[in-house]
């Protein structure tokens, strides 16, 4: 990667309150133009916090952010309010798990998309509405002309998710942040949305960060996967490598405990324990208390070491040969 679109370096996010919580620690990654990066992790691993920080959605009063986010050379953490308005939606856009929450219930879908277009571009009302129609067509909403005047509650779950994608892409962002966009959908609808996202990504050449807890969904769309645990990236690699030969014991455990037909009649391999409390993280590697390979050395935080396509933060990586 010579010139990544997005470059995150040493990103740390702390929520300050009665108890301070280290939601992200020393997160570094790149996303090239036209690339799909999957962020994989369980609840509390920091994947959604990463997306929200990229859009600067956290309240500045209760959040302490350190590190650097460069998007196409622009320092995102230094943007002022005025610049942020252009940046959000215009350069970077986000879709959420619950599309019902993304739309205002008292305006029609068409009005809201047109409004977003007019907020970013100097176009007429008619042109903005025409763009809204074109976007609804593009996300394959049947009878798009009629849906333009529909309210969000009149659409089904899958249709609403399509409308939200149309809203997010209306101003041609260069980076799309997708926060579990298919988790709440039925299986047959989920695959439609995943295919649509892949198709739109290819057509527009935008970059996508796809956050999910579901390895299956990540494998369907991502080029690379970064596995997160307790606010850190623990492993990053091409999607095929992560699935076939994970090196971090946590990634390996996740892949192994993914239920499949092959497990029938056997006890499922599990990772013991449960994800840690972010306000009371153990010293050193946060996964060590659940890790079968842990040793005294794990009391020290392992650094994320890059080697070619792979990045790994572990003192005792799984031996690929023996794991197979």
């Amino acid at each position: 990667m010579t010139h990544p679109l997005l470059s995150v370096r040493g990103l740390g996010v702390q929520f300050i309150g009665e108890r301070s919580v280290a939601a992200l620690s020393d997160v570094s990654f790149d996303v090239a133009a036209g690339e799909v990066l999957g962020l994989l992790g369980e609840s509390g691993s920091g994947k959604s916090v990463t997306l929200r920080t990229l859009l600067r959605l956290h309240s500045p009063r209760r959040t302490r952010i350190s590190g650097q986010i460069l998007l196409d050379g622009q320092d995102v953490l230094a943007l002022g309010e005025r610049e942020l308005q252009r940046y959000r939606g215009g350069v970077v856009s986000m879709i959420f798990q619950e599309p019902g929450m993304a739309f205002d219930p008292v305006y029609t879908i068409g009005d809201q998309i047109a409004q977003a277009v007019r907020a970013h571009e100097d176009v007429s009302r008619e042109a903005a509405r025409a763009r809204a129609l074109q976007m609804l067509d593009r996300v394959q909403i049947p009878q798009a002309k009629r849906r333009l005047d529909a309210y969000s509650h009149e659409l089904s779950g899958g249709m609403r998710q399509r409308a939200m994608i149309a809203l997010a892409l209306a101003c041609k962002p260069r980076l799309l942040l997708a926060d579990e966009p298919t988790t709440a959908l039925d299986a047959t609808v989920q695959i439609q949305i995943l295919l649509l996202l892949r198709e739109l990504q290819r057509e527009t050449g935008m970059s996508v960060i796809f956050v999910t807890h579901d390895i299956g969904a990540a494998v369907e769309v991502a080029d690379r996967i970064a596995v997160m645990y307790a606010g850190r990236i623990v492993e990053e690699n091409h999607v095929g490598e992560i699935v076939a030969s994970p090196s971090h014991p946590y990634s390996a455990g996740l892949v192994a405990s993914t239920v499949s037909a092959a497990h029938r009649g056997h006890v499922l391999p599990t990772i013991g324990g449960s994800p840690p409390d972010l306000s009371a993280l153990p010293r050193g590697c946060a996964f060590a208390p659940r890790c079968v390979r842990a040793s005294a050395r794990c009391g020290q935080q392992p650094a994320l070491v890059r080697d070619g396509a792979q990045a790994l933060a572990c003192w005792h990586p799984v031996d690929v040969v023996s794991a197979r």
Binding site: I191, Q192, H213, V219, S260
Partner: protein, 348 residues
């Protein structure tokens, strides 16, 4: 364990199904229009029949709105059915001369998806588990003793977790409390309604293992409702596929997954992610969302999303037919007499 609460003994022997459901139906009224005058009906469950053998796990799959959770609630008698009957180990449920509802409810327990909403926020883990048996007449000390043993069994040390409130437990721990509470009555049938769906993957595997152990240990029978086909494949002995309130296919798990007979089952299975980036899904097996259950299509309810739909499918609703022993499907494609042009030719 203490014999104050009578446990429900096996009566009919192993060959008699633990639960038989005949023609179960539930319609919900929907008011529409000005002043709610226009009344429509959602046929949430429409003539569902099946049986669950003793000691088996019946997986129920389908998309939202297919009636799988309503079926569970009807069986647990949280909802009253509009039509149909249930027979529990040979005894009709809730009818004159049949099994009394109180006894029926004790032989069956339910675990829900939302582990937090299904616990009382003001009861500690041990009180939650002890509550039911105590209400049914077990002395307090005995109930708490039973609760402590159960908590220990589901992997929560009672001295560490017993005095915790739901908000002090993680999702996986809360679901373990729910399972312990369900077991406190020593039920014979456990209905698990998306019980592992909300859990993190690493925790989900732990709970699935626990469920398998408990089943073997206590001769339990499971009705396992899930939208996750891989989990059902792992856990279930037989699988029932539902679509818009009807059963479209039911059969042994290996056969149904290897040779699905209904086009909907085929589409559901094709929508499961492949876990192999070299073999990604290229085409969506189905287009569109599940239709509105208020106004389902005539005839076969799946026909407007089905690639094989023909005129017969609109005219006549297919009924469940047994194709291979124990494997039933409701599709005109499967029936040589249906008149569907793609149906197999009848050899006489």
């Amino acid at each position: 364990m203490s014999a104050v609460l009578p446990t429900q003994a096996d009566r009919g022997g192993p060959a008699q199904p633990l639960l038989r459901v005949n023609d179960l139906s539930k319609y919900f009224a929907v008011r529409n229009g000005l002043f709610g005058r226009v009344q429509q009906q959602v046929r949430a469950v429409d003539g569902v029949s099946f049986s669950v053998a003793k000691g088996e796990t019946l997986g129920v799959v389908g998309e939202s709105g297919c009636g799988k959770s309503t079926t569970a609630r009807l069986i647990a008698r949280l909802l009253k059915a509009d039509a149909g009957e249930m027979v529990f180990d040979g005894d009709a449920v809730g009818t004159y001369g049949g099994l009394a509802l109180k006894d029926y409810r004790r032989s069956l327990q339910m675990v829900f998806q939302d582990s937090f909403a299904s616990l009382n926020p003001r009861l500690t883990a041990i009180d939650t588990v002890a509550y039911g048996p105590q209400v049914h007449g077990l002395p307090k000390a005995a109930a708490r003793q039973r609760a402590a043993a159960l908590l220990a069994r589901v992997g929560l040390a009672p001295e560490q977790f017993g005095s915790r409130y739901p908000h002090e437990l993680s999702g996986g721990q809360r679901q373990r409390v729910n399972i312990a509470r369900a077991l406190a009555f020593e039920p014979r049938l456990l209905i698990l309604d998306e019980a592992v769906a909300a859990l993190d993957k690493s925790v989900q595997a732990q709970v699935l293992n626990l469920l398998q152990e408990l089943k073997a240990e206590r001769d339990l029978t499971y009705l396992f409702i899930s939208h996750d086909l891989q989990v059902v494949h792992y856990l279930a002995d037989r699988v029932m596929v539902m679509y818009l309130g009807r059963v479209v296919e039911i059969g042994p798990v290996a056969e149904l997954y290897a040779g699905p007979r209904h086009p909907y089952t085929r589409a559901l299975l094709a929508a499961v992610p492949s876990m192999d980036p070299a073999r990604r899904t290229e085409q969506s097996p189905l287009s569109g969302d599940p239709p509105n259950p208020i106004n389902p299509p005539s005839g076969c309810r799946f026909r407007d999303r089905c690639p094989h739909a023909q005129a017969v499918c609109a005219g006549q609703a297919p009924v469940l037919r047994e194709t291979v022993a124990g494997h039933w499907a409701a599709c005109h494609l499967d029936d040589p007499r249906s008149g569907h042009t793609e149906a197999p030719v009848l050899l006489t």
